[in-house]
Amino acid sequence: MKDYSYDSRKYIISGAIIIVLLIYVARLYNLQIDSNDYKTKADSNAFYKKTIYPARGLMYDRNGKLIVYNKPSYDITFVPREIKAVDTLELCNTLGITVEDFNSRMERVRNKRYNPGYSTYTEQEFMTQLTGEEFAKFQEKLFRFPGFYVRKRSIREYNYEVAGVLLGDIGEVSQKTIDKEPYYKRGDYIGTQGIEASYEKILRGKKGTEVLLRDARGRIQGKYQGENLDTAAVRGKNLTLSIDIDLQELGERLMQGKIGSIVAIEPATGEILCMVSAPSYDPALLTGRQRGKNHSELSKDKSKPLLNRAIMGTYPPGSTFKTSQAAVFLQEGIVNEKTSFPCHGAFVFNKFRLGCHDHSTPIALAPAIATSCNAYFCWGLHKMFSSDKYNGTKDAMNRWRDHMVAMGFGYKLGVDLPGEVRGMIPNADFYTRHYGNYWRALTVISISIGQGEVTLTPLQIANLGATIANRGTYITPHIVKSIEGDTIDKEYTTHKKTLVDAEVYEKVIKGMRMAVTDGTCYAANIPGWEVCGKTGTAQNKGKDHSAFMGFAPMKDPKIAIAVYVENGGFGATYGVPIGSLLMELYLNGKLSEESEKKAKAIQEKAIYYGKDER
């Protein structure tokens, strides 16, 4: 007899089983189809993306001499999970560190605040930038330290001890940058100053990845065999700088013990031949493990060696500025070549008096430039500002301002280096804000001799020289001559024109040539070359700044130069001889014996700057 009681319960039980099946299938759907999350997690579990660092681009000087290259450095890393029974003491001895140091490093790695990417499965940085020797010592014993690995990186190496601030340096990328640019990962290097910073994207190349399989214990199990997910690293592009490294070396030599700057430009191309900012430092100081220490020392130094004065320092251009004034006055028809002004040791107008020095009077344009007569340019500006040509003083002032801006003053020139400043060219509104409507030419007269409110960077002064040498055009000065397999920015091949005609510049050049043949720049003479120049002695709170701006040869100029020595006194004291020596080296390829002696003498002369911060 079959027992049929409770027969319906078979449906309840079967139903329950089917419901469980449905719930499980729904859950599988949710896990496998609905959510992509698990796929990503699985990939990050199993695929270890090993970064392949490309070689950073090299830098050559304009003559193909290698300046900056890479040398291998070694980072020691460890995978926390794999460390077993490591003899800490022996590890410390091998690496030359103390046990306390070891512990503090470990603690730092484990601290999520310093190291947000901490994981016991992945490589963590223990010590970075070991030299080849240190690495060799460690490598020998590596098998005794399971869980520790060596990662090869490259750091910068320099063939010359110069141009530190120009070349810049590389350092570990900051968290702020990582947040902004996801290309960078913790521990990557990035150019932080100079060319390394401004050409970072070209120099760095492109990181590659190699996809490896990693098991649950973090051990690499070989390459992933599936679809090829690897990407090759692309080497950074090499740069050829416009710098002539010999010129740079001489410049830095001559500026020893002084504060100031030298900028030399090839007028035809706008290429910067040398850019010295004194005091300078050896770029090698900012590589390797000593970088942090040296960097903080340099940044604490009162004379600010990390400041590139050539583009970040603004100075009154002093008499070098008179050349630009002469060009404006001629172009505007305020004066002509023959116009003469009286000067009896000073510019005197009513009760106003601005001192000058001893020379013949009355004086015409060319000799005024040659002897650097203050009065001539004061008269010129006065005449311009009271000319009927303009709709009042303000209009004249703004016309003047337009000329200055067209010459590259008052705004950043746009050099391919970070941190350039714009200097100062006042306009009418500027004075109206200060003096109300009652200012006249006399109020602002000192701008005509490169004093007062006018300030320029040494680069802008050098560019003035280049513009005159080019008879009224210039190409934005730049430091990179060419990029391997690439072209430089169009900005650096485009000619810019001032508002002054070429024949006007010829007249200015005549004065500058006269300054060298029998004027203030007599010492700038280089046998065999027609040198043009203009001294500058800029007044300031302390001793006068010594400046020189010039170019050579007069016809088809090869080099334009600006020298600025803070508190160096007369332009002729430091500016002229330094400028002349550099031009000689560049034009002749070497210094004469006599010049070499002169160079040595200047090199040894130091200026005392006191203990104040500069």
Binding site: D3, K10, S14, V20, V25, Y38, A42
Partner: protein, 489 residues
């Protein structure tokens, strides 16, 4: 009575046997997938005895031989030997506690030469057989308390011994045999109580701190009140079979719940859990009134059920938040998936979900799973074998395996239902229940919706004892089913 009628091969259920072989082959392939690394072209390596897939193949062979022998034993012999098997099994399990080596705290393995066996796996067979024999007695009556208690004792005795072996997971399997008792007439109230207790606890704690819609109340307690209402209504409808009481309660509860919800969301914010409790109080009072006025005795039990539910849930909540130590609380929260404990038990489940989830629709292909190959999932060829299937065969493959399993279990139920006596039916249901419990708990654990209880997936998880044990259960039943015509009438 004839001893045989036709060849035994003509009478066994080939469908079940086919399903069994299919599951076994798939399980073996999954073990190959889980224990072999990437590029292996030589198929013979799967049979290498130093590998788990090779060992499993050997065990499968042994099981088939054992199964063939079991097919030769007559139904009545099983029945006659059940008592002996049960007592011998109990003795062996007790002996195991003392002679077994300590493996991760459990004393459940006996080593014979190079093989180890787990007596608890065979105890399921003995217990199922004993239970079937006991219930199959002509004079057995489930509503007789004496008989019922004996049933419970048959189930609980091995369970207690296995708990003593520190194999809680295996011990819990015996609970599934209560499903057999339910089929044979045990009141469903026990099952309902067990299910509702688990539901209150899990839902109440899991959603204890989730905000309900935009109201300032927690989702957990709110849903628990709804669950209590639902269960109570279901009891009135299906157990008391009192349509009038049901209709009144149904209308009041639905209207009350919806109105308070609507008012709270769209008019004035207030704590709708309070109105839910008021509804429960109404239900209790109404049921008590009905009991008193209409002499509907079963209503009283429903009222008691509601009160007990409320007390149970609130005491759970109290225990959870005020009595348990923080680490105990964390363990429960991990179990419920509230916290990711990636270093402990949560690690397995987390990695297992990753492995399965990464399989996608069609999977990564046989031997191509990265997660399982690289050993991200611990115990991936034993308890967590299903994630290899999920990863390598994807949603389609995994769903196919799950469905196949359920078809197998349902086939067992069909066979059980076609038995002419309670002995055969009970034994069939015991099998179905055991397989179902293993299936539900193991898969549920691997896909992260059940707590981590270490029990194997039948025919899939690596392990000789478990494969042999499940085969013994199945083959003995195949013979019992084949001989169903000879059942004592």
């Amino acid at each position: 009575m004839e001893k045989t009628k036709g060849n035994i091969l003509g009478r066994i259920d080939w469908i079940t046997l086919f399903l069994y072989l299919l599951l076994a082959v798939m399980g073996w392939l999954a073990i190959c997938g889980a224990s072999h690394s990437y590029i292996e072209t030589n198929f013979l390596e799967f049979f290498d005895q130093s590998d788990r897939s090779g060992k499993q193949a050997l065990w499968m062979g042994i099981s088939l031989v054992a199964g063939s022998i079991l097919l030769c034993i007559h139904r009545e012999t099983y029945r006659n030997l059940s008592g002996l098997a049960y007592i011998a099994g109990l003795a062996l399990c007790i002996l195991t506690i003392f002679i077994a080596k300590d493996i991760k705290g459990s004393h459940s393995w006996i080593s014979i030469g190079s093989f180890s066996i787990q007596p608890a796996e065979f105890m399921k067979f003995a217990t199922a057989l004993m239970l079937a024999t006991f219930i199959g007695q002509r004079e057995f009556n489930m509503s007789n308390n004496n008989d019922f208690i004996k049933c419970v004792a048959i189930i609980m005795l091995p369970m207690i011994i296995i708990v003593a072996q520190n194999e809680t997971g295996s011990a819990l399997v015996y609970l599934s045999l209560f499903l057999v008792l339910y089929r044979e007439g045990m009141t469903g109230i026990f099952l309902l109580m067990a299910i509702s207790a688990v539901a209150y606890f899990v839902i109440g704690i899991k959603f204890g701190e989730t905000m309900f819609e935009q109201l300032p109340i927690a989702t957990g307690p709110y849903w628990v009140t709804i669950l209590i209402q639902t269960f109570a209504l279901a009891m009135v409808k299906f157990w008391c079979k009192n349509d009038k009481t049901f209709l009144t309660m149904f209308i009041v509860n639905i209207a009350g719940t919806l109105c308070s919800y609507w008012i709270a969301i769209y008019l004035i914010e207030f704590n709708i859990i309070i109105t839910q409790y008021l509804l429960l109080v109404f239900n209790v009072i109404y049921l008590l009134l009905r009991t008193r006025l209409n002499k509907e005795g079963k209503n009283l039990w429903v009222a008691i059920y509601i009160v007990c539910s409320i007390i149970f849930y609130n005491s759970c909540d109290y225990v959870m938040h005020n009595i348990l130590e923080p680490h105990q609380k964390v363990r429960i929260e991990v179990l419920l998936g509230l916290k990711d404990d990636l270093s402990g038990a949560g690690y397995n489940v987390h990695q297992s979900k990753i492995a399965i989830g990464s399989g996608g629709m069609t999977g990564k292909g046989f031997l191509n799973g990265t997660q399982t190959k690289l050993k991200y999932v611990p115990e991936q060829d034993t308890d967590f074998i299903f994630c290899t299937i999920g990863e390598e065969q994807g949603f389609l493959g995994a769903t196919f395996i799950l469905t196949l399993f359920v078809v197998f279990i349902l086939r067992l139920i069909v066979l059980a239902e076609r038995q002419n006596d309670r002995f055969g039916r009970t034994y069939g249901y015991a099998l179905a229940s055991i397989f179902f419990f293993h299936f539900a708990i193991n898969i549920g654990m691997v896909i992260g919706i059940m707590p981590v209880i270490g029990i194997p997936l039948p025919f899939f998880s690596y392990g000789g004892s478990s494969f042999l044990g499940f085969s013994i259960l199945l083959f003995s039943f195949l013979r019992i089913d084949a001989d169903r015509e000879y059942a004592r009438r």
